[in-house]
């Protein structure tokens, strides 16, 4: 009877050891999976943040290009207005300017 009991206890301990071994194997598996998952999580997190920054950067550059183009257009528009004013003034006063220059040359003699 004692043998039988002893045998049962050994059996139970063996099962317990096996269970613990299984648990340790499972734990190692979990840690291995975590290693892979953590690399994936690292890459995904990094990609997501950097991609977001790149999108924002593109937007900043796009906006600046748009603003620069608009400002350039305004400057050219202003210069065209100035040009129109100059041409009108030239049309109105060029004879006077020519006369004045001729008089200056003749007066020098």
């Amino acid at each position: 009877m004692a043998d039988e009991t002893f045998k049962r206890i050994l059996e139970a301990e063996k099962k317990a050891d096996e269970k613990l071994m299984d648990a340790k194997r499972r734990a190692m598996e979990i840690e291995r999976e975590a290693e892979a998952k953590s690399t994936q999580a690292h890459d995904e997190t990094y990609e997501k943040i950097v991609e977001d920054a790149k999108r924002k950067a593109d937007e900043v550059v796009r906006k600046a290009t748009e603003e620069g183009t608009a400002e350039a257009k305004r400057i050219i528009g202003e210069s065209e207005k100035t040009l129109t004013e100059i041409r009108a003034n030239v049309k109105a006063n060029i004879r006077k300017a020519i006369r004045s220059a001729v008089d200056m040359i003749v007066a020098e003699v």
Binding site: A53, I94, M104
Partner: protein, 213 residues
């Protein structure tokens, strides 16, 4: 016997329960470690990515600034160039028309005295002496009295001066060129040259009259 069997069973249950509990703890601990590892890697990634993002955005802001400034500078240069070019061509037009007006002036009675004055002025600038006078083809036909001018110059300079008409003709719309007899020194008093000498003044005056705000 029964108690003994129950005792054994309790012991067996206890062994099984302890193993179960320890197994659960091992797995729970592994899960905890796994989660911590994932969180650590995520935190590292976040920190690294935020640093990288900051660089990306700084560079983008710099590029944006460059793009904007460059577009504005280019437009300003283009605008200024267009206006300057217009002003420049207007001044050229004025100079051209001044030449045309002076060309017309050479056909008037008043021109004769102007031409004589130009000759005398050139002679005085040369300091008198024996000098050759060049006119263009049209002015050569005016028969300017070079002897009278010679006398006047001699008197004004206090030095004998003799002018003679060159066989060569000057180019241009009018005026004269005075040369020493050996041709080494010359004074260009043509109207074309006068215009060129006064180009800066013409430009300033024209600009003042036509472009001042």
């Amino acid at each position: 016997m029964v108690e003994s069997a129950e005792g054994v069973q309790r012991l067996l249950d206890r062994i099984a329960k302890d193993a179960e509990q320890e197994s659960d703890e091992i797995i729970a601990k592994a899960r905890e470690v796994a989660l911590a590892l994932i969180k650590k890697k995520e935190d590292e990634a976040r920190e690294k990515a935020e640093k990288e993002s900051k660089t990306i955005l700084t560079q983008a802001n710099e590029e944006a600034d460059r793009i904007k400034k460059s577009a504005i500078a280019e437009a300003k240069i283009k605008a200024n160039w267009t206006i300057l070019s217009e002003k420049d061509s207007t001044v050229e037009r004025v100079v051209h028309e001044v030449k045309e007006e002076l060309q017309k002036f050479t056909k008037t009675k008043e021109y004769r005295s102007v031409l004589e004055a130009l000759v005398l002025d050139g002679v005085k600038a040369m300091g008198g002496g024996d000098l050759e006078v060049l006119f263009n083809k049209n002015d050569s036909k005016l028969d300017i009295d070079l002897n009278a001018i010679s006398e006047k110059a001699s008197k004004e300079l206090g030095k004998p001066t003799k002018l003679f008409a060159s066989k060569q003709n000057a180019e241009g719309i009018g005026g004269s060129i005075i040369k020493t007899a050996d041709g080494k020194i010359a004074i260009d008093n043509t109207l074309d040259r006068l215009i060129e000498r006064r180009r800066k003044d013409i430009t300033l005056k024209t600009a003042k009259m036509l472009f001042s705000e």
